[in-house]
């Protein structure tokens, strides 16, 4: 904290002003009606009161009672501080029944302020608003009394916040800006697409650097919230812990380990492609680990979401009851984009969940020019990252988009899934692929998944004949293959049978042939023996004849 700055009571504004309002001198807060000047000044007073300092608020348009009421409502303990005497309220509302006759001066303003500041030993002074004070008194020119007041503020070194309406931008005010104050902050509200966005800009700050952009801010029941771009420095801590998506096969698509804790993930897909179930599965996984989670839905009410997820086996009621899970439902058109993002950031800041689901983030995208939306999303994602929360965004792709993302934030996210539905053979089949995942060995495959009673189920991939086949075509293909194999097996059996038949035939024929051979041979042998015997008898008879003649 800078020595010559005093905290504004708003974290974001302190960052923009590099410490706070300049100490010991006046700061001018300019803004049209309804831009939140009073809330800023009450926040400032509250921050000082919290630290035990005293504060004097000179109110020129609202009654002191109402101011205290506002503080109480914003949780700033107004009545309590008033009772303790730390908070001094000066009623500077002009009395409109007063008649003016002749010349007068405004020295009582300084008298009352100095009296109150010195009596309460106040560190800070708030004047809300100078405009009304001057107008109520019929003063249109810069009065020397007002300049004297600023001189007195400097001399007494009272840190002062003066608010002034910017609607009447004429001479006295620019003189005040140029001469009397050290810091000028301008508040404005713009209307984009019929939604109002508030902006803050620092016009000047003597002797100090300050953020110079136009910063969106939000006003809600908790006071003021700002999104300064300075918080988007790329200095978030490195996170090595991996978290499972809850679907083992998806984890393995991300290099076997899931995503990095605190990463930002985006799931893109057309209507009905399973984005919500996918995001909820990841959310459920984190809840099962006992960590906190926030689900922001722009499409479904809490009840609808609970019922719809129950049907796919994701039961959230228990987590909701225990406060582990917070579901924040709202239509996108309820408020401006900045308000949405700031509301969500506040939720994250309060709950510090491990995972935040925004379903669908594309609902916010119609709420401004794409450049503006991208700028805000950069801030938003950086903030979430700094908080160490895993961010899961779903993106609804229009049917005419041909599955191309028209959201220019894909470069901001760490991991990007794409869900698709492919039509073939009269059916739609669900496919998922990882478009990118920083720091992981990403699978390049397109996987098919189905949604059943127990959530998302990834099918075995069928890759045959050089192409991936999905759905019933995949089943048909598998059937065909099985039949083919069956047929081959049958054929094999047949051939084997033929072979053994052949063998048997051969063997039996061999036996017959052997028997025939054997009988033929013995017949021939018998004939040989017979003939040999007959031949012997002839020779004997011839010898006997010759012997007889002799």
């Amino acid at each position: 904290m800078n020595d010559n700055k005093i905290s504004t009571g708003l974290k974001g504004l302190d960052t923009i002003l590099m410490g706070g309002y300049p100490a010991a001198c006046p700061t001018l807060l300019k803004g049209g009606p309804g831009t939140g000047k009073t809330v800023f000044s009450l926040g400032f007073a509250h921050a000082q009161l919290q630290q035990g300092a005293s504060a004097v608020i000179a109110t020129c348009d609202e009654s002191p009672e109402r101011l205290v009421g506002y503080m109480d409502r914003f949780g700033m303990a107004g009545s309590q501080h008033l009772a303790s005497g730390k908070l001094v309220l000066l009623d500077f509302r002009p009395n409109l029944s007063e008649t003016v006759v002749g010349e007068y001066d405004l020295s009582p303003i300084l008298l009352r302020i100095s009296h109150a500041v010195e009596n309460s030993d106040a560190a800070i002074l708030v004047i809300d608003s100078l405009q009304n004070l001057l107008l109520g008194l019929g003063v249109t020119e810069p009065r020397k009394e007002i300049l004297e007041l600023f001189d007195w503020i400097r001399e007494k070194e009272v840190t002062t916040l003066v608010t002034m309406s910017a609607s009447l931008d004429n001479q006295p005010h620019s003189l005040l800006e140029e001469y009397a104050v050290d810091c000028v902050i301008h508040l404005s509200q713009n209307l984009d697409n019929q939604l109002m966005t508030r902006y803050l800009r620092v016009l000047k700050m003597r002797g100090s650097a300050h953020g110079s952009n136009s910063y969106p801010f939000s006003l809600n029941h908790r006071g003021v919230s700002l999104l300064p771009i300075t918080a988007t420095r790329l200095e978030d801590a490195m996170e090595l812990q991996r978290i499972s998506t809850g679907i083992p096969r998806i984890d393995s698509m991300l290099g076997d380990e899931g995503y990095y804790k605190g990463a930002s993930l985006m799931i893109s897909g057309r209507s009905g492609s399973g984005k919500t179930i996918f995001a909820s599965t990841m959310l459920n996984q984190v809840l099962q680990q006992g960590e906190k989670a926030i689900y922001v839905s722009f499409e479904e009410s809490e009840g609808d979401l609970k019922r719809n997820l129950q049907s796919v086996g994701i039961g959230l009621s228990g987590y909701l009851d225990s406060g582990q899970l917070l579901i924040h439902s709202g239509r996108a058109i309820e408020m401006g984009l900045e308000d949405h993002l700031i509301t969500i950031l506040n939720l994250v800041e309060n709950e510090s969940p491990q995972i935040l689901v925004l379903d669908p983030v594309s609902a916010l995208m119609d709420m401004g020019s794409s450049r503006m939306v991208k700028m805000l999303m950069i801030r938003f994602i950086s903030h979430i990252k700094l908080a160490g929360t895993t961010l899961v965004l779903t993106e609804l792709l229009p049917d005419a988009s041909a599955d191309y993302s028209d959201l220019a934030i894909s470069s901001l996210v760490d991991t990007w899934f794409k869900l698709r539905q492919v039509e073939s053979n009269g059916e739609l089949n669900r496919l998922i692929n990882v478009v990118k995942s920083r720091g992981s060995k990403t699978s390049n495959q397109i996987k098919e998944f189905t949604i059943g009673d127990s959530g998302i189920l990834l099918e075995d991939p069928y890759i045959g004949e050089g192409e991936v086949v999905v759905g019933s075509a995949r089943i048909t293909r598998i059937k065909q293959e099985q039949e083919e194999a069956e047929r081959k097996r049958y054929e094999l059996i047949q051939i084997e049978q033929a072979l053994s038949t052949l063998q048997a035939t051969y063997e039996s024929k061999q036996k017959v042939l052997g028997a025939e051979f054997e009988s033929e041979r013995s017949e021939l042998m018998r004939k040989i023996t017979e003939l040999k015997r007959q031949a012997g008898q002839v020779l004997e008879q011839r010898d006997a004849m010759r012997d007889a003649r002799e």
Binding site: D91, N95, V101, E103, S107, I109, R112, G136, L137
Partner: protein, 98 residues
């Protein structure tokens, strides 16, 4: 009937304050005024908390609390007629003129 008190608050005896005191004195010479009101001059430098109490933003200021309604007149009171009108007192002159 007891007279009511009209108070003139000044912040130091500046030239404007002195003019206002002079004009108040002249006012007291008007019977319409002096029969109803007593006057008192208060210097806020002596009693700064009165400025807070009376919620005074500009001086000099002439404050009449009673009878109701309360009337406050800012300035040096240089226009006597307007002061009297401002205090709901109508002189014979103004009645005739109207």
């Amino acid at each position: 009937m007891a007279k009511q008190i009209v108070r003139l608050y000044v912040l130091g005896y500046t030239p404007i304050a002195q003019r206002a005191i002079e004009n108040l004195k002249l006012l007291c010479q008007q019977p319409e005024f002096s029969t109803v009101y007593d006057t008192e001059v208060i210097n806020l430098l002596d009693q700064p908390s009165l400025a807070e109490e009376e919620k005074i933003l500009a001086t000099p200021v002439l404050i009449k609390k009673l009878p109701e309604p309360m009337r406050r007149i800012i300035g040096d009171l240089s226009d006597r007629e307007r002061v009297l009108v401002g205090l709901d007192i109508f002189t014979k002159d103004s009645d005739i003129r109207e």
